[in-house]
Every structure is written in structure tokens, then in C-alpha cells.
């Protein structure tokens, strides 16, 4: 069963499950998890080359013909740092895609949305396809799109928390008030039902790292997330029945004795 096409900033994504490459127990486990997830886009971080160990890039293990590479600005707490990492990521990488993070606080890793908005505006003008990690605020989502973002990536819950989609109603409001906007839930997805819920709400994609990498069996969880994302998306596209308080019989009365 085919989904509707997902295109962001002119780039087509075949999978609606996007996967991070951090925190796996080994590169081999990551490779197998990516394979099991069926994804075609992976996030990576920009960091210093370890000169003692040689280049040691994650891309030694990720087939760039198979996966689109989405660099992030994780760990950046200021606009200046986020711009610097984004520009370095573009120079080192293969495309204009950037998952933009401007972090506001170490404990929650919540976004600094004021800095995020400024950085989005600057990078969009420089030709980046900006995918900002933001909170689940519909007003901020609109501001980011007005500033030139290619989509919005609201958090479901704090990064790595596994708390799921804590405010599905806000996500729903973002989706309803900006019908043409692409929404990718980023952060907080802990298990398959969280991914399915994100998709059933009508989100366009979901990005998962810790939820897969931190599971006891990362490869099996990657497969679970794949199926949950497919199921949730198909359910959304199929159009679910309306919820009602009372029963409606499924079997006919006609012909009863």
C-alpha cells in the first residue's frame, strides 16, 4: 500500500519514519536497525574529526546512496553556534538540508524558540532547507514557516525521554491551522504506539533516535516503529470512523427469527 508522497523543500522522502544515528551500542547494530526501519533519511551531528583516531565518520557506515543525510545542530545553545554548525554541515555534506536546533536548557533540551526563529530566517535566506526542532506551539510553528522554514518539527516530549506525544491537541491544532505545512514529530517517541499516534494525528513523518537505539533490542524496535508508522499513516489516510458514546450494531436486524 502506497502513501501519499512526502516532499519537503523539493526533496522527496519515501519513508515517513526518519531515524537518528546516535547512541547505538555499535555501528553494526545501527546499520541493522536502519535496515530494519525501512527509512531513507538519517540524522547526523557535526563534530570535530578525532585526529588521534583518523576520520572515523559515521558515514563510513551509512550508505549515502541509500539514505539521505540530514545534519543537525544538536548541542548548539546560541544562534551563532547553530549557524556555524549548519554551514559546516552543508560544506561537509551533500545537500542544503539542515535539522536546526537551538537549545535553550540543558536539563530539558527544550528549544530556545527566539534563537531558533532568528537562525531559521538567516539560514533560509542562505538557501538552506531548514527543518527546525521546535516546541508544540502552533503560534511558533506559524512564525517559523513565515521565516522560511521548509517544515516544522515539534517535539512530542523532551529528547530521549520516551514520554510519547504529550500534547496531541497542540499537534492537531498545528496541523489544522496550517493545512499545507509539513509536520514531523521529533523527540519523545518511546514505543510503537507513540509513532502510530503521531501518524494518526496526520503528521507527515516522525523522527526517532533514542526510542530505537535505547531499546533492549534496537533492531526489533526499529522494525516495530516501521510497522507502527505505516499503520498509523494508512489509518490517517483511510479516514477513521467517528467516535460515539453508544453502540451501533454491525450485524443486520433483517432476517432475525
Amino acid at each position: 500500500m502506497e502513501f501519499r508522497k512526502l516532499v519537503i523543500g523539493g526533496v522527496e522522502f519515501k519513508s515517513r519514519l526518519w531515524v537518528g544515528t546516535g547512541k547505538y551500542r555499535s555501528n553494526e547494530e545501527m546499520v541493522r536497525a536502519l535496515e530494519a526501519s525501512g527509512t531513507d533519511v538519517v540524522t547526523v551531528s557535526v563534530r570535530r574529526v578525532d585526529l588521534k583516531k583518523g576520520s572515523g565518520s559515521i558515514l563510513d557506515y551509512v550508505d549515502t546512496k541509500k539514505y539521505k543525510i540530514l545534519p543537525n545542530t544538536a548541542g548548539c545553545y546560541t544562534v551563532e553556534d547553530a549557524l556555524r554548525y549548519a554551514r559546516l554541515g552543508r560544506e561537509a555534506g551533500l545537500s542544503d538540508l539542515i535539522k536546526l536546533e537551538v537549545i535553550g536548557d540543558e536539563k530539558t533540551l527544550f528549544p530556545d524558540v527566539i534563537g531558533l526563529l532568528k537562525a531559521t530566517e538567516i539560514l533560509a535566506k542562505e538557501g538552506f532547507i531548514v527543518l527546525p526542532y521546535t516546541n508544540d506551539d502552533p503560534i511558533m510553528a506559524k512564525r517559523l514557516m513565515d521565516a522560511g522554514a521548509a517544515c516544522v518539527m515539534p517535539l512530542g516530549a523532551p529528547i530521549g525521554s520516551g514520554l510519547g506525544i504529550r500534547n496531541p491537541y497542540n499537534i492537531k491544532i498545528i496541523l489544522e491551522t496550517m493545512k499545507d505545512v509539513t509536520v514531523v514529530v521529533d523527540a519523545g517517541v518511546g514505543t510503537a504506539s507513540d509513532a502510530a499516534l503521531a501518524m494518526e494525528l496526520g503528521c507527515d513523518a516522525v523522527l526517532i533516535n533514542t526510542g530505537i537505539a535505547g531499546a533492549e533490542d534496537a533492531v526489533k524496535m526499529a522494525s516495530a516503529m516501521k510497522h507502527a508508522t505505516i499503520a498509523g499513516r494508512l489509518a490517517f489516510e483511510a479516514g477513521r470512523i467517528r467516535k460515539k458514546l453508544y453502540a451501533t450494531a454491525s450485524s443486520p436486524f433483517e432476517g432475525m427469527i
Binding site: 546516535g22 565518520s57 543525510i69
Partner: protein, 65 residues
């Protein structure tokens, strides 16, 4: 000549970015190089002249979410 590369001082004979990368054994194209906060384009590696005390950052990609 002494340079600061990725936070550490380095004594080097390299005169250009290309020579420095070669000296450090970095052969992958999937890196980015910054000299004194300016990104050096890949096409300029062979001609970009380094000078005493330059602060250089060489980055690539690691696992992240």
C-alpha cells in the same frame, strides 16, 4: 609553523589546507574545514595558504539524532 587544529597545537610543514589534510591522513571528502572562523571551500583547499597561529577546525559527521 605552529597551528591550532581542533583545539590542539600542531607543528607542521603544511603550507595549504590540502597539505594539512594530507599530513593528518584525512582522505574523506565528507569533511569541512574552517580557518579562523571562515569556511574554506573544497575547491580552494590546494590554494588556501595557512599562516602561523591560524585556528583551524576540521569537522565531519558523527552519530546524532
Amino acid at each position: 609553523m605552529r597551528l591550532q587544529v581542533n583545539g590542539d597545537m600542531l607543528e607542521t610543514e603544511a603550507k595549504t589546507v590540502a597539505e594539512l589534510l594530507s599530513e593528518l591522513g584525512i582522505t574523506s571528502g565528507m569533511v569541512a574545514v574552517e580557518v579562523d572562523l571562515n569556511i574554506v571551500k573544497k575547491k580552494d583547499y590546494a590554494v588556501y595558504a595557512l599562516k602561523e597561529g591560524d585556528v583551524i577546525e576540521i569537522v565531519n559527521f558523527v552519530g546524532g539524532g
